[in-house]
């Protein structure tokens, strides 16, 4: 029997940690420390995942099929072979997209209500 793909909208909203990890992996596979650095960069240092939060979230995302481990190494000479690399699955990619769309629509509402002042005025919203 063919496996029915889960509806990603039913899994929303995502936790901030999960969404940031999906975003970090959106442009390619990465290992744990790389993901952590990417998340800190994305949030200008406002969100710093600890090892427990990072691997706890990764564990759940692996179980739920949002991400998967990758066997490929960018360059075995340069890389520590003990590191594990992760990449998005199809479900993970769809999930990142629908969550981003959900957040974008929330921002539109905030703009319409002039909660995002300058941006709203410069875009002529509201």
């Amino acid at each position: 029997m063919a496996k029915v793909a889960p509806d990603p909208t039913a899994l929303l909203p995502l936790t901030p940690a999960a969404f940031h990890i999906l975003l970090a992996l959106a442009d390619g596979e990465k290992h744990g420390y790389w993901i952590m650095q990417e998340v800190a960069e994305q949030t200008e240092g406002k969100m710093r995942l600890g090892p427990g939060t990072l691997y706890g979230t990764i564990k759940r995302m692996l179980t739920d099929g949002w991400i998967e481990e990758s066997d490929e190494r960018p360059d075995p000479e340069l890389d520590d072979e003990r590191r594990r690399y992760y990449r998005l699955t199809d479900l993970g990619q769809r999930l990142a997209r629908v969550e981003a769309e959900r957040l974008a629509s929330l921002v539109s509402v905030a703009r319409a209500k002039r909660l995002v002042g300058r941006t709203a005025l410069s875009l002529g919203v509201g």
Binding site: G32, Y33, M36, R48, G50, P51, G52, T53, L54, Y55, G56, K59, R60, D80, R82, R83, R84
Partner: protein
């Protein structure tokens, strides 16, 4: 490049490695080395940027992280063990332990019945018979409905331990059962230690402990 003094680096890593024991064993086996590797990278970069102050701030963050995530992993492990019941990880099939505790709850309810019947002037032996019958009927129904072994065995263990042993062992069983109300509770405690030993099944022990205390309390009524 400024590197961390070796003693401070190895001490930090050793402390972090030691801290990982607060996570569930299965999680630790899978992710412990990765977390340690991550901590090592973090510690190295933090030292390069902020020296001792940076390291102190890192430790504050890490302690908060361990405190919150270890608890979450234990809850997650508990849920998974209830849903999947991984037989191979137990010394005995997990259903035995669970049914032992379920039957202990029935036993506690039966003891309450026994006490209430005694107070209304009924025979203590009749009350004990009601207790045994209720326990075995409930265990049989559980075993048939759930099609899992262990319910009857669990019920028998608690019955034998807390009711039949004193009946067979003590001359004046009726008064012994009345005057030594803690026997069932103690037996449940011993059983829960047996179930929980070396298996990280701390929650089974916790549930059994609550049941044992409840039973001892009820017996004193």
């Amino acid at each position: 490049m400024a590197s961390t003094p070796i003693s401070a680096a190895s001490f930090s890593e050793r402390v972090y490695e030691w801290l990982l024991v607060v996570y569930p064993a299965a999680y630790r086996r899978e992710y412990g080395p990765l977390m340690l590797q991550l901590f090592r990278d973090l510690r190295r970069d933090t030292w390069r940027r902020g020296k001792r102050w940076g390291l102190a701030m890192l430790w504050l963050r890490v302690l908060g992280d361990v405190g919150t995530t270890a608890w979450a992993e234990h809850v997650s492990e508990f849920r998974r063990s209830i849903v999947n019941k991984p037989v191979e990880k137990f010394g005995v099939p997990p259903s035995w332990g669970i049914w032992l505790i379920v039957s202990a709850a029935i036993l506690a309810a039966g003891l309450l019945t026994k006490v209430l019947m005694s107070e209304t002037g009924q025979s203590i032996l009749l009350a004990t018979a009601v207790l045994i019958a209720a326990n075995l009927i409930a265990a049989t129904i559980m075993e048939v409905v759930t099609r899992s072994g262990g319910a009857i065995l669990g019920a028998m263990l608690t019955l034998v331990a807390s009711v039949l042993v004193p009946v067979l062992w003590v001359d004046d069983a009726s008064s012994w059962l009345r005057e030594n109300p803690v026997n069932g509770g103690i037996i449940i405690l011993i059983a829960s230690f047996w179930i929980a030993r070396g298996k990280s099944r701390w929650y089974l022990f916790l549930v059994a402990l609550v049941l044992a205390v409840a039973q001892i309390g009820v017996s004193f009524l």
